[in-house]
Symmetry: C2
Subunit: 266 residues, 2 copies
Amino acid sequence: MKSGGVAEKPVAEKQPEEKSTGRARGIDRVIALMEHLHDRRAPTRIADIARDTGTPRSTMYELVNTLVEARWLELRDGDGTVYFGPAMHYYGSDYLDSVDLIRKARVEVAHIAELVGETAQFCTLEGDKYLVVLNEPGRRMFRISSEIGIKVPIPWTASGRLLVDHMDAAEIRRFIPAEDFILPDGRHIAEDEFLEDMHRARTQGYVRTTALVDRFTTCLAAPVRDPAGRCIATICFVVPADTTEEAQQVMIDTLKASAERLSPGR
Amino acid sequence: MKSGGVAEKPVAEKQPEEKSTGRARGIDRVIALMEHLHDRRAPTRIADIARDTGTPRSTMYELVNTLVEARWLELRDGDGTVYFGPAMHYYGSDYLDSVDLIRKARVEVAHIAELVGETAQFCTLEGDKYLVVLNEPGRRMFRISSEIGIKVPIPWTASGRLLVDHMDAAEIRRFIPAEDFILPDGRHIAEDEFLEDMHRARTQGYVRTTALVDRFTTCLAAPVRDPAGRCIATICFVVPADTTEEAQQVMIDTLKASAERLSPGR
DNA sequence: GACCGACGTCCGATATTTCGGACAAACGGT
DNA sequence: ACCGTTTGTCCGAAATATCGGACGTCGGTC
């Protein structure tokens, strides 16, 4: 039991004003289920999903069976865990192919990742967060964590400094939540420092950050801009911080060329 | 007793005149909706989806609104069409990352596609059909059609001849529906011809087919085998039929090397 | 300007899906 | 072998999500 009284997060809090009888539509439960799997990023036991999403056990079993049949989910390991199934891949591929910029970006990201052998990514904003849309691992075998679909505070990233560079200081203060300027290790990013990075980036045409979210990692990013000059996405490399300056310069040139090719109506 | 007790799918799921009441669960409607979009491969108007899936219009509007909010779907073009949304990509990426063989195959496919500049694919069986799991377009700009997630009769493909090469003639006759031996243009593939291809492939370690489903296309495929020697997947190139023999030999060697690397416990 | 079809919303009724709880089988620790 | 826990299935009851149909808008056509 939780007699120990440790913070055992019970369930996702609902809006207080929500008049919840506990009963919900199947589709809403399924959405919660999928979001939960995406957050956990690991095959999960059905009973755990039920508990963590606040879904009755019998309902969850029923839904999971339906979804497994549709191949939205897959039973894993022979034990009772489930995770995403192949249908999600098919639908996701359809999505990627249907968005012009992303389709082009796939080619670029794959190309430059192969070319220089380092992890390349294509990123955008979603709401007030930074988001990795495409990730190509590169030859280096460490840090395979695909962060696709995970939202990250804008100030934690190199690309973030480009993605908001059409805003002035006041707009940025309004746009980015204050707590997002605190790094995972507790350090605080000064706002004027952030703005300075941003302006330098605008003139140089790229951003470099080192040891931001990870002490030994450098990020290099170049902006994809719409005809009005607004940064709508970025393409970037994630490399070890001790990468030589010459190598980094090559990567920066590579990024700039790719970003230029991706910029619509250039 | 539980083990293996999954999806005991009754082969005939839809009684032609089932017509229970016409009422269905939201989740079943949603599954039909997504499958329909995947089949159509294009943004579709809500009313059309409703008609084509046999869903009441008001229900479809209700569900689409829910799904758009969850970013499973996206409104397109400003007109009333919807298509898959970014959430599907995130979930699909999670799936790809979670399957060891597929994760490795992504690297191989991307690598060889970049290397030789032609479209490379990674394929498996799903039920009694052939299926493209990964597709990397290559430099050639024609034929962008990603066929990811579309099922194709086994005899229509080069890879198909590898994927069933552990069966004997009788098993194959039982496994592959007779109508699948008829090509899209009406031609009929003789069964002994198919078996011959298959056996030759087993000794040669690859398959080449030309002008099967498409008059001007050649497919080259190599088998990924499990420790027992059974073909569990294939990796292949799709190239113009007039590609020189020398170039094709290079590709075959490339495929064999990749397939070997992918074969578990080799 | 009147007509027509398509689009999207709204609303009440009821067929049905969700839910709670009971149950049996498997598991695992002592 | 015993017992507590976890897993998966089943069932009846009732809360409610689905459905049909009506309604207001919008655009295009004659």
